[in-house]
Symmetry: D2
Subunit: 342 residues, 4 copies
Amino acid sequence: MRIGMLVSGGDCPGLNAAIRGAVLRGVDVFGFEMIGFMSGWRGVIENDWIPLDRRAVRGISPMGGTILGTSRVSPFTDEGGGAEGIRARMRENDLDGLILIGGNGTQTVAQMLSDEGINVVGVPKTIDNDLGGTDFTFGFDTAVSIATDAIDRLRTTGESHGRCMVLEVMGRDAGWIALHAGMAGGAQVILVPEFPESIEQICEWVESVRDRGRHSLVVVAEGFRLEGMESEVTRAGVDGFGRPRLGGVAEVLAPMIEERTGIESRATVLGHVQRGGVPTAFDRVLATRAGIAASDAVEAGDWGVMTSLQGNDIVTVPLAEAVGSLKVVPRDRYEQVRLLFG
Amino acid sequence: MRIGMLVSGGDCPGLNAAIRGAVLRGVDVFGFEMIGFMSGWRGVIENDWIPLDRRAVRGISPMGGTILGTSRVSPFTDEGGGAEGIRARMRENDLDGLILIGGNGTQTVAQMLSDEGINVVGVPKTIDNDLGGTDFTFGFDTAVSIATDAIDRLRTTGESHGRCMVLEVMGRDAGWIALHAGMAGGAQVILVPEFPESIEQICEWVESVRDRGRHSLVVVAEGFRLEGMESEVTRAGVDGFGRPRLGGVAEVLAPMIEERTGIESRATVLGHVQRGGVPTAFDRVLATRAGIAASDAVEAGDWGVMTSLQGNDIVTVPLAEAVGSLKVVPRDRYEQVRLLFG
Amino acid sequence: MRIGMLVSGGDCPGLNAAIRGAVLRGVDVFGFEMIGFMSGWRGVIENDWIPLDRRAVRGISPMGGTILGTSRVSPFTDEGGGAEGIRARMRENDLDGLILIGGNGTQTVAQMLSDEGINVVGVPKTIDNDLGGTDFTFGFDTAVSIATDAIDRLRTTGESHGRCMVLEVMGRDAGWIALHAGMAGGAQVILVPEFPESIEQICEWVESVRDRGRHSLVVVAEGFRLEGMESEVTRAGVDGFGRPRLGGVAEVLAPMIEERTGIESRATVLGHVQRGGVPTAFDRVLATRAGIAASDAVEAGDWGVMTSLQGNDIVTVPLAEAVGSLKVVPRDRYEQVRLLFG
Amino acid sequence: MRIGMLVSGGDCPGLNAAIRGAVLRGVDVFGFEMIGFMSGWRGVIENDWIPLDRRAVRGISPMGGTILGTSRVSPFTDEGGGAEGIRARMRENDLDGLILIGGNGTQTVAQMLSDEGINVVGVPKTIDNDLGGTDFTFGFDTAVSIATDAIDRLRTTGESHGRCMVLEVMGRDAGWIALHAGMAGGAQVILVPEFPESIEQICEWVESVRDRGRHSLVVVAEGFRLEGMESEVTRAGVDGFGRPRLGGVAEVLAPMIEERTGIESRATVLGHVQRGGVPTAFDRVLATRAGIAASDAVEAGDWGVMTSLQGNDIVTVPLAEAVGSLKVVPRDRYEQVRLLFG
């Protein structure tokens, strides 16, 4: 059995542990030959790959990023040649199947290739945790951990200066990072893309916190939008005042809060630090298990599936079930924390 | 509704977040009055308690330990007066029910009290993650995280000096911490209480790692015992050489490995640092949700249950289902990592 | 002896350890009575203070921020009443002297009060490390540590995606944080306020890094300005393209680098997280020693001085020597790292 | 100019940053050729080395351990051949000089070689910070940081359970780690090798802490000995009760404290985790600067010296001044913290 592996889409902590898990299981236990395409689909298109064996994955589990590199290149382009192009490249390299590590986009591609009869196993990865068909994806726990650390730090400054601190975290379509980091850090206000709130409501919460003698920590997902504002506007690089947005939604909210409440407010946009560096132990374990499970699926001839965490177990689910549906914060989880604000 | 809360057994990261979650939900949302007994059942026996409100739990979520203190005192003693004594104390303080935060022992007591008609809700907590009826308990993720950090540090020393490093982590009856930290840190050998191994087998693994040009990191749960040795011996404070054991199993293993393989070996016993300090974001979220769910159960009159993480959801399970069964590392999880050693 | 203490200016990690050191030494060893004014000079003006004893400072050493709060209020205002107003307030509270914890501005005020015959001892504190008369100030090591952690994280993303990552750190007039974090994190380009560079030079460095097969990490102090650009322009909220600056200099540089080199570039502005949260051990020791030294100076009647780290020793220096001079990165330190870029 | 480099003695955080600093400066700026001997003097004896250039040191600054490995092998053995043997090996490899990274022992060897006319530059490195001639050595700050983190964690358990926690840290002859970590973590009792104390005095402190309603955190350096006990006894592997010592001094002290005060006491021996893993930013900067300074000394022909931190500056001092004197905790620094115990 000869297997190709690649990472596609944004990088996230745990990718190397997943690669290592798949290789140790596949090469050492099952006797696969494995190769890794460099920079995602670009490596497939350009036939740029490295052999993957025990030596290649030695000690990489605690490292951020990915030894294979990644890109946002899609195979469904003229250059990529679609399913036919991929199939040709696989034949050329004598590959029996592909392990595809990536997020929503990548798993959708995986399913399309599977529909065309190509042997694929998907390994899910999202910082935002918005992928259906699995309890958690690796990368998310590290991102929440970094965001929580930032809240812990900002809080002391907020309390010392009597300021409202607004922290923007990742989460374009789903607010999981904001929800979890906000709960972990004890944020007084948590704003997620799923549930728009008005600026009046936000200021009411901030003022109610002040009336209790404290200072608000507002955590806001990048994809949050103010109620009544056009999402196209706030998302398209123009802020709530119509000015071009260089920064993020936190940089829009902080001055609005300060103007309306008179409470000095400061924005911090956490940005790229959320997706890099040493993964948490949780993410390393999850990623290692996901990698192992991918090689197990290959060995079992269980193609067209994605590895999935369900409770304590790693199982496989059909790609068709996993892709397409965005896993968003349900109303009851949001209401639960919302009730704590007042 | 007037509710008492206490923590019993060993402390662990997340206790304060659980207390805070229950109080913010119970007092602020449902209008309970809540009190916290100090130092576990000792506080009940001595009627030593503090009122719990929003102010009392302010900012405690990132703190290790517990603001209520804890002890290993049991109510089923002459002093405690058993169910009748507890009932009397509850009447005296006008309490409608108790929220009991603790591990296996505490939840067993909870069930006994429930059987006697006392209103209790259990919140599970174990460092070792060996409690049935729930996917994870808070405290475990922090312990794994600290143990993984230690592995990351020891590895560099092992590689620089060409040594075999043996790290002992918590896990008296279940090897979850060793399993997860070992996977996260890329330990070459993982030894758990569930699966005794012989010293010959261990040395074979260590030598096979050396033959690949690397240096072994052995992670061993405190409850691991060598195959062929009486568990009473290795567990009762006498080491494998018949000497009194001041340290732990790592201090027995390291010299045995060195003697048989000729590879310089060093033991580290991680000990109490695993159970203290700032909880991980994961544990804070889990603990907060568990606390919230406990107050939800109280509000719903759902007595005799324990909060439980199942996948992404916090549910309640009957105490009878949760207690009594130890959740151990299943053979397939162990075999999976064992195959990676050779 | 009865002593007042306050914190003025921006908060930074270590303030609580300094307060604790001064109190444990002053109250417990020398028998002082001590009080702490709240929110800096505002507390003096409004006579808002708390008693400071062992209990008040219990366990605060690892905490960020300050239990006394802080503000940028100056005593040299109508409201403050200048030296006379301060003197009156001290008489009212029966104070023999003041311990003033703060940065350049605060120590300048301290000297002015000292010149007016008021008993003061200064304790220096700056994130930026730009205060003369002392090797280091507490807060700086924590800020460098946080910035280095961010570089470690950003680097993995940069390498995985083949991007140039631009990180903006604190440092308005002095580039110490950028210099040290850049050295610690192995940044390929380090830009400081003391030494303007042209965009051509920066891009040459970035391209030379690419030619070596790597991806640049550029760390830039917030006060850096491009050579040939008016400092008023880049500092006054207008970016290099003449657009209003909402973010910082990193958000100006990244698109300029991308445009000229064709290398995808991303900006991160670290912001307030650099000044909050748990202090490093180094800062806690330095702050504790500075606090102790302040009470020593009070006991010795050594007024009009500032505590100062010189090598391994904490000494006192006359305030006149310490204030007024900005400690900037010397040319040879900068040249040393600059030579490594090419 | 062709230069050999090696690391000798115990590993410590910062070694890789020092190697990298010397190489980037020496090879890229001055045009040296550089080689690194593997595993200390063993590599010289066996002529086992690797070429050192920019590629070899890429990205190693944040890594613990050393890419060159280390050992405790001495050149002054039959095998090593003493100065003549080293000289012969240098001639064979066409080496003009050696950069020797190590602690007291290594720098003493460096001086002996220098006395024999061999060109050497020493780079000091000790975890214990007990080397004369320099304010700090890299490795120390990381060790203090790890020990402080352990104190922070143990404290919460001690407070929750009402226990006295005894933490043993490194420091065979000098108590710097105990002193600094103890100050940073707010330990109530700090015990160092330089100042023996009686068990009665220690228990008096622990009881006085209890009388104030708190629970003691005792930090003890491994080299501490009880007053009145023979150092040979407590140091030679026999504990205060005459039993063989498997663990360290903390495991002797904890039961003695518990027996005399009735306060439940627990020992933790931090051990090897103190010397491994990611270095603090402080240590990386110090190590990088030391490495740069070593190549500067080579370029200047400034042989027979050791790099040294003095205040903010890295200078060189004659090896003769640096070696031989142990830098111990001075009485006034110890008295200062001792006064805080009572």
